[in-house]
Symmetry: D2
Subunit: 338 residues, 4 copies
């Protein structure tokens, strides 16, 4: 009854979000939590809010222990998953990598943006990119799922209908804002309270950010990507600007999006501009599109919770598809709006 | 000794920021504070932090009382300044309007974006747009200064060197983030704590925001403008994306900006991407520009404090020029970085 | 199958939190949402994050419509529930009042603190105060539940074991901090973003706050109560200081608390000091107690989520008891720690 | 013309605040900035917001270089100042230590709370505690000033009139909230954004916090001290509860405070409860006192900016006194209320 789940990187923000999601998922039981540090301690030492809710002790990352699970989520710095995943897959484990190791089909792009020679390029063709709205058909057979990056998820959902319809003149301009949890739990200048609070800043602009090639791979076109860090824990906005290759009526534009996302359980079209609180702790994306006929440009917006649809929630969604479970099983849809 | 200053709209965020700036300006003395509400109360009733620092009582807005000042700052909702300014100017007062009434040279654009027939279109040609980096030469003779909007200030400073050099293919894409103080002190859905905190949202996209025509007037080209509200009190980022009309080398691009802003006391060029904390409570703008040669695009960033260089500080800067005082007199440059 | 639920005051923060909780409660179905304003609009107009998740339209508050429900939650300003509850109870509805009307047993205390003559003092003896940790035995028969205030919940849970053991010399000193959602959704000086953000303030000190008599009723002794508003959405800390009436050993003190709360599903004892993030979106309280032998004083801390254990979650917990359901049914325990 | 200032620990939050204050102080010039790390780099590398405003390079901490200054501020971890200060004082430098090394008159209390044998206990009697409201008379002759801790400043200002009047039955209960900048710039669990934001927590309760003996030394009585960390950059509240040793009328209580602080330039009495935004970036304290006659208790509140009156501002204030300058010279009084 249910799947035995292991999480590597369980003490990080994404890892502990997976613990929370698994707790309300009827088919998952977390039987193993591993991390690069804290091994030997109760998980509730790293996260005191879990006292009384879990008896799990953090283990060191041991492939053999992980291989005994049915499903393993890898929430590790890039480079680590590529060394772990092959043997887990070969042992019959369904592997969902929340890091970057299997996202890019081109190992040279990986080397360029991540500064590493890919440890197992021969596995790249076997990985399925886990954005159900783009790759649902392939996920049913997946044994190795590359969970999308948060920015690529948001940008892709915002722009996909436009691009698929061949409406745009490239490059697109994707300006994004992200909450701070995307910077992870390791302390540094991007996540210290006093220098982050009540301040906002761009970073990784002009093609420098590692999510650039992933975004371009998803959309099949050039995208100028400008991420901004803003002082909130969760939440992400992708505001994508596309020059129109040909005129389109406002109603036609709305119809294009409505049709594309009509059957998507995790995409809610919005007539008004959404905010990130509308999707806080929810696995849904809210998408809004507006025409600026005067400037022959479309502005498309997607908001997500970067830890949910942008990370842990999406991983569970893709896992559900791969396991043949209902796609939304165990996933919170109701936002924590306050 | 010094100038007698009146402030209409003194209880609002911009008004009370002017009070603070005037307190450390050696040539200004606030002798009159007026507002649409709170008349008859001490200013320190509206702002208890001022107890013991000011004896000023809030008055109702009376043109004759204001006309007795040397300088009047109007920090009022649009439409009000246009009815007050003419008689004040005619009485010899230097008027600085921090609202929108005299920013647009075209009264039809005003009518379209502000929903009002301009009350005194004949005065529009006499107003000087108060962005010293763009209009310093005209400010020396000004008697009616139209203080720029916050977004137009940031976007213009980011893009100006590019546009002046004829480097861009339009429309530009200006994606901006703003702190909440720009929404003013009247309560509403855009500034209630629980629905603003820990959340971000776009608004007024696709040409809808009132600052669009002002930005386009400054730059002389089309600009797709996407503002976002983020949970901080002060601070604004303009991230402007420009497709290049012709190739440019990275060093040439840096030189272009360095040269343009070499003598600007309120513009600091940055080699790294700036954050809004770098200019918190400072009247300076920090500007950064980066080339994405692969995508033939330039990304230019300006950060300002929206209440300082984006409102009250800029008003004092322009006033200084108009009065023949040193341009930076009394203006804080050191940021409150924490 | 399941209970038909009505919520009066559904558009407020507590009301919409009840909507979220009901959505994951297997025995509840919200069939009616009423509010003083917004009647006739979809609930998702007030809360766009609910688009696609609910078809509910907001109705005006109609006792007859509410009387057709099995359970009605009243999340209304004080005075309203006292006028609605009697007829609902008489119609067989289980009524849970999240306001203050039925909390104080003494109608004179009600009149003094709430400025109203109680509309139905004869019903006060029939109301059961809904703090299961204090009144579980009476809740099983309850038809009218007075859901505790947020501060009284936290202060009571912190101090109860001490007081029950007769260890304290009164008055106690309860210093509390609260997030801003406790101030409700109506805009005012206590919940405007820019004047709330990055600032903290005491209010209602020296016996002035309305929760004072409720706290004293729960504990049966005088309590000096000092609430503070701090810039966060959710979360509450009660830090209670008690002079010892007789010496106690540290181990004995810990044992006292451990024993008192051993069987409480919603109270987690902590050896370290808890923070409000440890209970964010969880219905649990975390309690910590420390002895300062040198000063013959005990400091006891309870943290709760003011919208959960401090309001909507506690209402569902008490309802579960009154309906004979498992006490924690449908209630989230895992915190949203990030 | 002016004093040559050195700052040791210039890259920390207190150090860089001193840089900002010195920039607007007419008699100070920072000629030397030293720090344990970052030596050899421009100060503006550590703090990019200072680009264009300072040419200072960070030096390593060299007593001989510091000895060439007129005034040296030591903003270092405890233990360091005690090793540096004697030789600087002997060289004729006015030394202001913003750390804890010279605050406690009793070296055994120092050893107990700071875990160090005091390096120069013979200097303790020569240090003057730099709280002008308490020790102004001694400051005029001071050559070694022990700048008070932030909590002791706030608690002392709140309680002093009560204690001096012999009105209280001890121990007092001082419950405080502090912004995060008090935790310093070194990253750790108390200052990482995602685990600090939107959360509050007590710490160091029940006599454990190092500021306890300093508070008790100032007030000459026992004080139960409960600090809380809340999610804001700056700001501190001390809410002090005192059981009355004898009855007092409300008017008499107000008069007591008004008289005690009548001539204090940095203390503003308030009839209403103050918030920390009222003193943000100001060197003033706002003090409020309220009688709870029913519970024979007084609640006294002081709010300060922990980096200003709680650290750097107070250091400049005390220095002004020691140098015979006007006490408020160069110190901002106007708060940054938004």
């Amino acid at each position: 009854m249910g799947y035995r789940v292991g999480i590597a990187g369980i003490t990080g923000y994404t890892g502990v979000e997976l613990v929370r999601l698994a707790a309300s998922h009827p088919e998952l039981e977390v039987v193993l939590g591993a991390a690069g540090a804290s091994a030997g301690q109760p998980l509730s030492t790293s996260w005191p809010g879990l006292q009384g809710l879990t008896e799990l002790d953090v283990e060191s990352i041991d492939p053999e222990r992980l291989a005994a699970c049915d499903v393993v989520f890898l929430a590790l710095p890039h480079g680590h998953a590529a060394r772990l995943a092959p043997q887990l897959v070969d042992a019959g484990v369904l592997v969902v990598d929340l890091g970057a190791d299997f996202r890019l089909r081109d190992p040279e792009a990986y080397a360029r943006y991540y500064g590493l020679t890919h440890p197992c390029p021969e596995r790249l063709p076997t990985a399925v990119y886990g954005l159900p709205e783009l790759t649902r058909g392939q996920l049913a057979q997946a044994r190795l799922i590359a969970n999308p990056g948060c920015y690529p998820t948001a940008v892709t959902l915002a722009a996909l209908p436009l691009v698929e319809a061949g409406l745009v003149s490239t490059p697109l301009v994707a300006s994004c804002v992200s909450g701070v949890s995307g910077a992870g739990r390791s302390p540094g200048p991007r996540n210290i309270f006093c220098e982050t609070h009540d301040s906002a800043r761009p970073y990784g602009i002009a093609g420098a950010h590692r999510h650039t090639p992933e975004i371009e791979q998803n959309l099949g076109c050039q995208v100028v990507f400008s991420p901004h860090l803003v002082p909130m824990n969760r939440g992400m906005i992708a505001t994508v600007h596309a020059r129109l290759a040909r005129p389109i009526a406002a109603a036609e534009l709305q119809e294009l999006y409505a049709t594309r996302y009509a059957d998507e359980p995790m995409v809610q079209m919005r007539q008004d501009a959404p905010g990130t609180a509308d999707v806080r702790c929810s696995n849904r994306a809210h998408v809004h599109v507006a025409l600026d006929a005067e400037r022959a440009t479309v502005t498309a917006v997607a908001v997500i919770d970067n830890l949910m649809k942008g990370a842990a929630g999406q991983a569970v969604q893709a896992m559900n598809v791969a396991l043949g479970l209902p796609e939304g099983l165990g996933l919170p849809l109701h936002p924590v709006m306050i």
